[in-house]
C-alpha cells in the first residue's frame, strides 16, 4: 500500500485495515475503470487515471482490454450500470473516477459485498452507520497543498500584485484548489490582490475565456485555474495576449499543461502547473490489489510527501530562485510548520495567523 496513509494517520474511521486477499497471477488480474463524462482524454483526472492503468499494465506486461480496460460514461445515469457491468464481468478491481460517482459506487458496493471497488476524489461513507465500506478504497488528494505551491509561484512572479483564480463549478473539491492557492499567495505576499470567479461549468470555454479576459484587463497577470475543459479558455486568452506582447501567465492544473500554453512554436504562457498524480495512485492501488492487498475500507490521501501532488517539472518560465523558494515552502508543509487550509473557514483562520 502507499505508505502515506499510515504515516500521516490520515486513514479515517473504518473498522478494518487492509483486506488481505489472495494475490493474483498478473496474467489473470483484471482491472477496469469507469470514467465520468469527460472520458479518457479530458486532459484531466480521467486521462491521468487511465495513464496510471496503462502504466501499471505495461509494467506487468498486461494486455489492454483483456486485463485492463475503461468504460466511458455518456451521462450521469450510466455511472451505475457501467460500474456494475464491470463488477458483473468479474473484474478484480473497479475504479470509479470522480466524486460524481459517489452514489453509484455506494449502491454497487452494497449490492456486491465481494467486489473490490475504488473511487478517486471522494470518500464514500455508509450513510446509516457513518462508516467506510470494506469493499471500497477511497483515493483522495491534498490538492490544497499543491495549489498552495502554485500560489507561492504566482505571488513571486506577479508584477502587478494581482493574481486570479478561475474555478469550474463551485464545490467542496474545487474549493480546496481555490483556498490553497489563495493561502500560498498570501503567505508570500499578504498585499497581493486575488480575483476569484467560477465558470459554473467544466466545459464552457467561452465563458472561461471571457472571465480571463476581464481579469487580465484589470491588471491581473497570473491566473490559476481548476476548471477542467473550461480552463482551455484561459489558455486561449493568455495566448492571445502573449502574442500581442502582453506579459501574462496561466497556471495549469491536474497535469503539466505546458503544451496547452504553447504559442509562436516555442513559447508557452504556462508558468507552471499544479500536478495531481492520479496515475500514481491508481497504479499503486492496482498493484497492491493484484498482490492481494486491496486497501478496502481505507482513505488513501495522497499529498506532497509521496510526490502525488506538486508542481510540474516544466520550469522554463520560472524566474531564478523561485524553485528554491517553492521547495522551502514544501518543506515547511511537510514538516507541519504550515498547515494549508482546505475550506473557507480554515482559510480565514490561516489569514489571521499570518
Amino acid at each position: 500500500a502507499c505508505g502515506t496513509s499510515d504515516d500521516n494517520g490520515d486513514t479515517t474511521g473504518g473498522d478494518t485495515g487492509t483486506t488481505d486477499g489472495e494475490a493474483t497471477e498478473a496474467s489473470d488480474f483484471t482491472v477496469g475503470m469507469v470514467t465520468d463524462l469527460g472520458g479518457i482524454d479530458d486532459k484531466s483526472f480521467n486521462q491521468t487515471s487511465w495513464e496510471g492503468l496503462v502504466a501499471f499494465g505495461e509494467e506487468f506486461g498486461l494486455e489492454q482490454n483483456t486485463n485492463y480496460s475503461y468504460v466511458q460514461s455518456e451521462s450521469m445515469d450510466e455511472f451505475e450500470p457501467n460500474l456494475r457491468n464491470l463488477v458483473r464481468s468479474d473484474t478484480d478491481l473497479v475504479f470509479g473516477i470522480g466524486f460524481l460517482m459517489e452514489n453509484a459506487i455506494r449502491t454497487v458496493a452494497e449490492q456486491n459485498p465481494d467486489a473490490q471497488l475504488a473511487i478517486v476524489d471522494m470518500v464514500v461513507m455508509n450513510q446509516e452507520t457513518d462508516e467506510l465500506y470494506d469493499n471500497i478504497a477511497n483515493l483522495v488528494f491534498k490538492e490544497h497543498e499543491g495549489s498552495f505551491l502554485a500560489g507561492v509561484v504566482a505571488a513571486l512572479e506577479t508584477e502587478s500584485n494581482q493574481v486570479g483564480f478561475i474555478g469550474g463549478v463551485e464545490s467542496e473539491l474545487i474549493k480546496k484548489f481555490e483556498v490553497g492557492f489563495k493561502a500560498g499567495v498570501k503567505a508570500v505576499n499578504p498585499d497581493a490582490e486575488i480575483a476569484v470567479q467560477y465558470v459554473e461549468s467544466f466545459n464552457d470555454q467561452v465563458a472561461a475565456q471571457q472571465i480571463a479576459n476581464t481579469m487580465y484587463s484589470q491588471g491581473t497577470d497570473i491566473i490559476y485555474h481548476a476548471a477542467g475543459d473550461s480552463g482551455n479558455g484561459l489558455f486561449t486568452e493568455a495566448k492571445n495576449r502573449a502574442r500581442n506582447d502582453e506579459k501574462v501567465w496561466a497556471i495549469g492544473v491536474d497535469k503539466d499543461q505546458y503544451e496547452e500554453g504553447v504559442y509562436d512554436d516555442d513559447k508557452s504562457v504556462t508558468l507552471t502547473s499544479m500536478v495531481k498524480r492520479v496515475d500514481i495512485a491508481v497504479a499503486n492501488v492496482s498493484e497492491d490489489t493484484m498482490n492481494g492487498n486491496f486497501p478496502g475500507g481505507q482513505v488513501l490521501e495522497y499529498g506532497l510527501d509521496d510526490e502525488a501532488i506538486g508542481i510540474s517539472d516544466s520550469t522554463e518560465n520560472l524566474s531564478d530562485g523561485v524553485e528554491d523558494e517553492v521547495n522551502n515552502y514544501r518543506d515547511q508543509i511537510l514538516s507541519g510548520d504550515i498547515t494549508v487550509p482546505a475550506t473557507d473557514d480554515e482559510y480565514e483562520e490561516f489569514l489571521s495567523g499570518l
Binding site: D42, A195, Q197, Q205, A207, S217, N240, E260
Partner: protein
Amino acid sequence: MDLMQILALVVPAAIYAGVPLVLTGLGGLFSERAGIVNIGLEGLMIIGAFVGIVTTLMLEASGLGVASTWIALLIAAIVGAVFSLFHAVASIAFRADQIVSGVALNFLALGITVFLTRLIFDKGQTDYIQNRIFRLDVPVLSDIPLIGPLFFSNAYLTSYMAILLVLVVYYIVFYTPFGLRLRSVGEHPMAADTMGINVNKMRYIAVMLSGAFGALGGAVFAVTVSGNFSGTTIVGQGFMALAALIFGKWNPLGVLGAALFFGLAQALSITGGQIPLLSEVPPVFLLIAPYVLTIIALMGFVGKSAAPKASGKPYIKGSR
C-alpha cells in the same frame, strides 16, 4: 472599473460570442426563407467544428501554417453544404416532416463526428490546432477614441468576415433575382412554380447554403474558441442560432442584432462578476440574465410572426 473599461471588455466579447451564432443564423435564414425549417443547425455546427479542426490539423501537419485555418473554414463550409443534403433530400424529395429530419440531422452529426474522432484519434477529442485565429488590434483604427477600443481592438478577422457576410446576404436576399425567387419559394411555392421557377432546385440550393453557413459558424467557433473538437464542443449553440433567427425575424440584420444581443447579455453576465455593482448580485441572476432578457425583449416585439408562410410544408406539385 469605469464605463469605458466595462464596454471595452464587454463589446468585443459580445461580438466574439455572437459571431458563430450570426453565421449559423444566416444559414438558417436561407433554408427557412425557402420554406424548409432547419432545426438541424446544431448538427451543421457540429459538422463544421469537426471538419474545421480536423482539416486544420491535417494541413498543419503538411506544413501549411497559418493558411491552414482559413482553408479549413472553406472546406468546413463545403462539407457542411454536402452534409445538409441529408436534410434536403429527406424534406424535399422524400417529403419528410422537416422537424423530424432536422432532429435526425442533429443526432447523425454528433454520432458521426464523435465516431470519426474515435477512429482517427483513438480518443474522444481531437488534438489542439496550432494556428487558431487569434486576435489583433486593427492598425490605426484601434487608436480612434471610443470606437477604437470597442470595435477595432482585440478583434478577430472572422468577426469582420461575419459582418461582411451579413451585408452580402442582406443584399442577395432583398435585392437580387435569386433572393426574390428564394423568398417566393418560401412564401408561395406554387406561385413560384407557375412563374417558371424550379421550386425544388431553389430549395436544394437554399438548404445547401444553410449547410455551408451553419458549418462555417461551427468551424469559426472551433478555430477561435475551442481549438479542438469533442462531443461537447457544440452544445446548444445551434439552438441559440435558431433563436437568433426567429428573434431577428428572418432578416439578416435582425439575425446580426439578435446574435449580438445574446453575446452582449452573456458577456455582461460573465464580466458582471467583476463589475463593482453587479458583483453584489448573486451569480445565478447573472447566469440567467441573457435568457430572461431575451424573453423580455421578445415580449416587447408583440405582433404577427414574420415566418415565411410555406415553411415546414413539402411542396407537392398540383396540390393545395
